[in-house]
């Protein structure tokens, strides 16, 4: 569906402006602007990268974002964190209560420690669903419109030195309709997209530079990660990422020997979803950490 939408968008640019606007308005009269799969009322949730390896841990500070939009309402609610392994298999689910204006703090190591031997898994994906508070449900229902909340929270990471960093959500994975039931895929199909991250990389700055690719689609993705220098000399790696899975590529200066180590550029081929660009996780010799989307 996304591919069709992309093709439609590209084709529409060939039309004269008045006709293009008219066709766009006709399309939007019958389809949600964000996705034709949005036909009711609910939430859209994404998959996030978690790591818990004895040094790094994942820090969730889940804010009641409904209180931010509806501060005059009783927005007390509850939610659930689902932790998956690298292939998208559920490891554990944990429910939580969330008062009005409140936030709940959860460490992934705490979720896993009581249930999964840490030696078996050290990273994967997770998803958070915060239920729409009843007062907000009633408010939105009274307006009789298609409406979805998309929780784009900030996922934290912390290491044994106590250093922390955050990174925001970028994409969408599941559509949950109000009233329960199984979610539907935002991206049923995997696309073979190309992405040129804007960032230069000075690889000698890092003890380890990790590129993380999450496949939010319902199909397997074969991803090529290429790193090129200013002389167009490059090295490349392959990642096979199952549907709803995650894989990562950790490199250091030793992995890029032969390349000019400054102003390196990345290229991703085979990115499975439109906005599923990489997360990069940076670790430094002094113990510092930081993460970003690029």
């Amino acid at each position: 569906m996304t591919r069709n939408k992309t093709l439609l968008r590209r084709a529409s640019h060939l039309l004269p402006d008045p006709l293009r606007v008219r066709l766009k308005n006709m399309y939007l009269k019958h389809n949600h602007w964000a996705s034709p799969n949005l036909k009711g009322f609910g939430t859209v949730q994404d998959l996030y990268y978690w790591v818990s390896d004895g040094n790094l841990d994942t820090l969730l500070i889940l804010q009641n974002y409904f209180s931010m939009f509806y501060p005059d309402m009783d927005t007390g609610t509850s939610g659930i964190v689902t932790v998956y392994d690298i292939d998208g298999k559920i490891l554990i689910e944990q429910t939580f209560a969330l008062d009005r204006f409140a936030a709940v703090k959860i460490r992934v190591s705490d979720l896993l420690n009581n249930n999964i031997p840490l030696s078996d898994v050290s990273y994967g994906t997770l998803q958070v669903q915060i239920d729409i508070p009843e007062a907000v449900v009633n408010q939105v229902k009274s307006e009789n419109a298609m409406f979805y909340f998309w929780d784009r929270f900030y996922l934290g990471y912390i290491n044994e030195l106590g250093l922390a960093c955050f990174v925001h959500g970028v994409d969408k994975t599941d559509i949950y309709e109000i009233g329960g039931g199984e979610p539907s895929d935002w991206y049923p199909k995997s696309e073979n997209l190309e992405w040129a991250p804007e960032i230069p990389v000075d690889i000698e700055d890092y003890k380890q530079f990790t590129i993380i690719m999450i496949n939010r689609s319902g199909e397997h993705a074969h991803i090529n990660v290429k790193i090129s220098d200013e002389d167009d000399v490059y090295k490349s790696w392959e990642l096979d990422v199952p549907a709803r899975g995650v894989r990562r590529l950790s490199i250091s200066k030793n992995d890029t020997l032969g390349l000019v180590p400054i102003n390196l550029r990345l290229r991703i081929q085979g990115m499975p979803t439109q906005f599923g660009r990489p997360v990069v996780f940076k670790e430094f010799v002094n113990g510092g950490i930081s993460a970003m989307h690029c």
Binding site: L38, K105, F147, Y148, A164, W195, P197, E198, G288, C294
Partner: protein
């Protein structure tokens, strides 16, 4: 579409001299989607503002050849002009073919409406000398604070969970009041609050940010030490707060910098605009919900000030 070439692709930068951080910017000459503007080179300009928001200097930095990446040491350049105080700088990428000898780069030019440079973001990287770095990518939103005659698009609602403190970590909220209109003169009034994890509202205050200025708020200096201690998690030593704020008269950009000067480590992330959380069928409702929320927050925060 009439636009200054300087506003085609730009990113406002907070130079954080008071925090002791170096600033680099990383730029690309490629469309990240690899579908537009192939084989285009770009001229890089840097505009430096004083702490008071007065333009001091605009400098041409270099040309980026097609399909290349480049770092530029911004604070090394700006420290020649402003040494100790925090201030704004703006980095611009202008397609080389639009830089015409003899014409003023600030003059607006006509471009086809479909000339799309969206998603051309800059990497903004902070570091301690000899330490690690933290970075984030963003760009100036289209038409940012452009319309001086109307308040239609000029407001902000912010919320984030990134504000944490510990013996190791300091947290800074950085607010940027930028505009694509060189005549912009609005002083942003910003009201904000912190909540404890329990949901209790523990701190309320307000600040102003001048045009082409920045405000750097050290969370440790804002919050009473007793409160920080009270909210400390004995298990990991973190005192976690959530932050929210609003401005009724200016669109603002926000970043949270979490740093450890002792360990020379820094991390940075921006905040999403609230409309990014809302997917109504009628996109205009994003704005109406945001405005309604700000009005309600105003009535909640003002009685206790």
């Amino acid at each position: 579409m009439a636009i200054s070439p300087l506003n085609l692709i730009s990113t406002p930068l907070a130079v954080l001299n008071s925090v002791g951080l170096k600033l680099r910017v990383g730029l690309s000459s490629e469309d990240p989607m690899v579908t537009r503007h192939a084989s285009e080179s770009y001229e890089v300009f840097l505009t430096t503002y004083s702490p008071e928001g007065v333009k001091i200097e605009r400098t041409w930095l270099d040309t980026i050849s097609p399909e290349r990446r480049r770092f530029f040491n911004v604070s090394e350049i700006t420290n020649e002009l402003v040494r100790d105080q925090d201030h704004l700088a703006v980095v611009h990428r202008v397609p080389s073919r639009l830089v015409v000898s003899g014409s003023d780069i600030e003059d607006e030019i006509e471009l086809p409406a479909k000339r799309d440079y969206s998603l051309f973001r800059s990497l903004v990287e902070y570091s301690y000398p000899g330490g690690g770095n933290g970075s984030v990518i963003y760009e100036t939103p289209p038409g940012f604070n452009m319309d001086l005659s109307s308040h239609k698009s000029s407001n902000s609602l912010t919320f984030t969970c990134q504000t944490i403190l510990s013996d190791t970590i300091d947290s800074y909220i950085v607010i940027i009041n930028h505009s694509v209109n060189p005549s912009y003169s609005r002083i942003a009034e910003y009201n904000f609050a912190f909540h404890a994890l329990s949901g209790e509202r523990v701190f309320v205050d307000n600040t102003t940010i001048g045009p082409f200025g920045i405000r750097v708020m050290n969370v440790r200096d804002l919050l009473p030490a007793k409160l920080v201690e009270q909210e400390r998690d004995a298990k990991d030593g973190l005192s976690s707060f959530t932050f929210m704020g609003y401005s009724e008269n200016a669109a603002l950009l926000f970043m949270v910098v979490n740093s450890s000067p002792v360990l020379k480590s820094v991390a940075v992330e921006h905040t999403h605009p609230p409309q990014a959380y809302l997917l109504p069928d009628n996109i205009e409702r994003q704005r109406s919900i945001k405005l309604a929320a700000m009005r309600k927050w105003k009535s909640l925060l003002y009685p206790i000030r």
